[in-house]
């Protein structure tokens, strides 16, 4: 007993010494911080603390964004802005020159518009089914089912994989001599060349994307479901409310903030889709799964004439689309909070 007391005392002392050392270490900052506070005042101090992050954000986001914007008003193939030729809004004019906006073939830069339409199609299907499946999975995993922890891990596992790995796994499954075709042949069906058909390619692009990301959104919705007070369900049960009514009147309204986050995040990620589909289908067949980010990448980096100006203009258009989506999210959140 005495030994135990001694040990506790020693550990307390060690903790005390450690705390003192930490305190002394942080006192080093006291003098310069006091000095800065004297200069910028108490109100200016939050900016000082934010400065490292702001510098990082400025260096890697704001400055490249400005450079990109400037690039979109230039032409030629030179890499450095100072060497490039000012072309005004010519690149935007080239991108937006269409006889009929609904038909990409009538546009001067048809691939940009095909990329835009493909991205819109992909996003509509991917977001709809992603949210739906994530919701269903979250509702199931929120129940008291056997092996719940295991299933949560199973659904979350693909999120941990790199997009390239995800795409390669599915590519091997879906190729002419892949597992899927081996299965089809084994049940007496013909092989399907999935990546030769535009419809199948788009289907698998959407499917693989949902498979890869569903776990993340399921987790957000699961957190939302677990935050709903259980007594609401108990009260509904005592009132004899049907399960459908409970879902529509309690679960869905209370889950709405999480659902909104999921929808907006999925929308933004959907518009930005590139890596998985690039590895899976290469944008083919033809341009059936070539999305807007791949168009930008090809235009700026893989064509023999690297058209940085046009690629920049297209990325500014993409940025505007994302900006509109973000504003919509903010407006929806604010309307929800106010209403």
């Amino acid at each position: 007993m005495a030994n135990l007391t001694d040990r506790i005392k020693i550990s307390d002392r060690l903790a005390g010494v450690a705390a003192w050392l930490v305190l002394q270490f942080f006192r080093i900052f006291e003098i310069p911080l006091s000095l800065i506070q004297r200069i910028v005042g108490v109100r200016g101090m939050p900016w000082i603390f934010l400065l490292p992050n702001l510098a990082f954000f400025g260096l890697f986001v704001v400055i490249p964004l400005c450079i990109n914007f400037a690039f979109s008003f230039t032409g030629g193939t030179d890499l450095f802005l100072s060497d490039r030729i000012y072309t005004g809004t010519e690149q935007y004019g080239f991108l937006l020159d269409c006889e009929t906006f609904g038909d990409p073939i009538t546009c001067r830069e048809d691939r940009f518009w095909k990329g835009l339409y493909n991205t819109a199609t992909f996003t509509v299907f991917q977001v709809t089914f992603l949210v739906l499946f994530s919701m269903i999975t979250a509702l199931i995993l929120n129940r008291e089912i056997r092996g719940r922890g295991f299933f949560r891990a199973v659904f979350f596992f693909p999120v941990l994989l790199s997009p390239v790995v995800v795409a390669l796994i599915w590519k091997w499954i879906l190729l002419r001599d892949g597992i899927m075709n081996a299965f089809l042949v084994s049940v007496g069906l013909d092989k399907i060349l999935f990546f030769v058909s535009p419809e199948w390619s788009m289907f698998w692009a959407v499917f693989v994307s949902i498979w890869a990301h569903m776990g993340f959104y399921t987790l957000i919705l699961l957190a939302g479901l677990q935050a709903i007070p259980p007594d609401l369900y108990e009260a509904a049960e005592m009132d004899g409310t049907s399960k459908e009514r409970v879902f529509w009147r309690i679960t869905l309204p209370l889950l709405w903030p999480n659902l909104l986050v999921v929808v907006v995040l999925a929308l933004i990620k959907g518009v930005q889709i590139f890596d998985e589909v690039f590895v899976l289908t290469g944008g083919g067949p033809g341009t059936a799964t070539q999305f807007i980010v791949q168009y930008i990448y090809n235009t700026g980096f893989t064509e023999p004439v690297r058209n940085f100006g046009l690629a920049s203009a297209a990325s500014i258009v993409l940025g505007l689309v994302l900006f509109v989506l973000t504003i919509t999210q903010l407006a929806a959140t604010r309307a929800r909070d106010n209403g």
């Binding site: 032409g75 060349l193 067949p285 070539q290 023999p304 690297r306």
Partner: protein
């Protein structure tokens, strides 16, 4: 014992100088390299010899995927951050970044007599010496001869047309249930040779690029039809977008293809991978209405102008370009020599494989039959603009996104737009 301070300082200084001098004098050169087969290993043995003779120079062979040479290297060069030396295939397209080796090589006449016409490919606008060909390539087909024998179909002989081959390979594939009768690398360069064989001129009378004409349309129509009737599988050309390169070498090596249109650079790979599993047989370029020609091409080792060590780079390039070193390189890699002396005198290829020997003879023998238009196109520094417009738009027609007429219109627009951007 007391040590005099002056003595101590002197000893320390001398020791420091002795330790520092090798480090200070050491020059590191970086060579960006890609492999088709095992040529990187052959190059490394030659580099080891160079380093032994020149202990003050270290050469680092950076082996990268071919895609990195195509896509990343031009950006690095534009940013002034490239390697000292690189192995490239866009010979004229990158010429603005090449170093003129003339002041740094011991005998410029040797370079001019040994690499004469190829130096023009590397410097279309000047008389510079920038590097040498690590391989001369000729496009042409390989045939799985064993399948022809098993199907008891006679292989079309010398002078056979593209249509003759297309008919024959479909019969073989049907008889033996082979999934892909004919496959071509997904590359505009591969299409250019047969298009020229059909009469494509590629340039107008004033020498300006003019991609679409009747000759090109004839070949494009055939490629379109072959994809629709199953002679060619849409899996290769139709399954990706844009100008992405795809080869059917794996499918051919797995005996899934009867006839494979590729080029001489596949020889070492097939000798290694296929060996004697079946008779892979290089055949002369099939004929069109105008000629029986493939496209010349190749890879070159070039010195880059942003190097900080031009003298050392010159020394290394001079060493590598010597006839005995190149004879060893071409001989061991089974590459067609890009050195005129070796091309005439012959190289002893390090293989006993009769298929590889036959392929080397076939492709080397094809060089004199290559059309002048094909040489002109290869020497045109923006040829990749034409190749990429051709392959990407033709592909969109094949998969049904455009009609062939629309595709031709788009090819012309793409070429015009890209050249206009280049000439700003």
């Amino acid at each position: 014992m007391t040590i005099n301070l002056k003595t101590l300082l002197t000893v320390t200084s001398v020791a420091a100088a002795l330790m520092a001098s090798p480090a200070l004098a050491q020059t590191e050169l970086r060579m960006m390299w890609y492999n088709d087969g095992s040529e990187g290993e052959v190059m490394q043995t030659i580099l080891d010899r160079f380093e032994a003779d020149n202990p003050d120079i270290t050469v680092v062979l950076d082996v990268v995927p071919y895609k990195a040479v195509l896509e990343s290297l031009p950006i690095q060069l534009a940013a002034g951050a490239g390697p000292d030396i690189a192995r490239v295939t866009d010979l004229g397209g990158l010429s603005e970044y090449y170093l003129d080796l003339s002041p740094y090589v011991s005998d410029t006449e040797y370079w001019e007599t040994s690499f004469g016409p190829f130096l023009d490919w590397l410097a279309p606008d000047s008389d510079r010496i920038s590097g040498f060909m690590t391989q001369l390539t000729v496009t042409g087909p390989y045939v799985n001869k064993t399948l022809f024998e098993q199907a008891e179909v006679t292989m079309p002989g010398e002078g056979a047309t593209w249509d003759d081959w297309a008919t024959a390979v479909v019969v073989v594939a049907d008889k033996l249930d082979i999934p892909i009768p004919m496959a071509w690398d997904r590359s505009g360069h591969r299409v250019a040779g047969p298009a020229i064989a059909m009469g494509a001129k590629m340039f107008d009378t004033e020498g300006n690029p003019a991609l679409v004409d009747d000759g090109l349309k004839k070949m494009a129509q055939r490629l379109y039809d072959w994809h629709q009737d199953g002679t060619m599988s849409k899996e290769l050309w139709g399954s990706v977008s844009g100008s992405t390169y795809l080869g059917a070498n794996e499918d051919f090596a797995n005996a899934q293809v009867v006839f494979y249109m590729s080029g001489s650079w596949q020889i070492p790979q097939f000798a290694n991978k296929i060996g004697d599993a079946f008779d892979w047989w290089a055949v002369p370029a099939p004929c069109g209405d105008a000629a029986c020609t493939g496209m010349p091409g190749g890879a070159a080792l070039v010195a880059l102008q942003d190097t900080k060590h031009p003298e050392e780079v010159g020394k290394l390039m001079d060493f590598l370009a010597q006839e005995e070193n190149l004879a060893e390189f071409y001989g061991k890699t089974l590459f067609i020599p890009g050195h005129l002396g070796l091309a005439t005198g012959g190289v002893e290829f390090a293989t006993d494989d009769p298929r590889a020997k036959h392929a080397l003879e076939t492709f080397s023998g094809a060089v004199p039959t290559i059309s002048q238009t094909a040489f002109d196109l290869q020497g045109y520094k923006n040829n990749r603009v034409l190749f990429n417009a051709l392959i990407s738009r033709l592909n969109e027609a094949i998969v049904g996104e455009l009609t062939l007429e629309q595709a031709y219109g788009r090819m012309e627009e793409d070429v015009a737009n890209q050249l206009a951007e280049l000439n700003r």
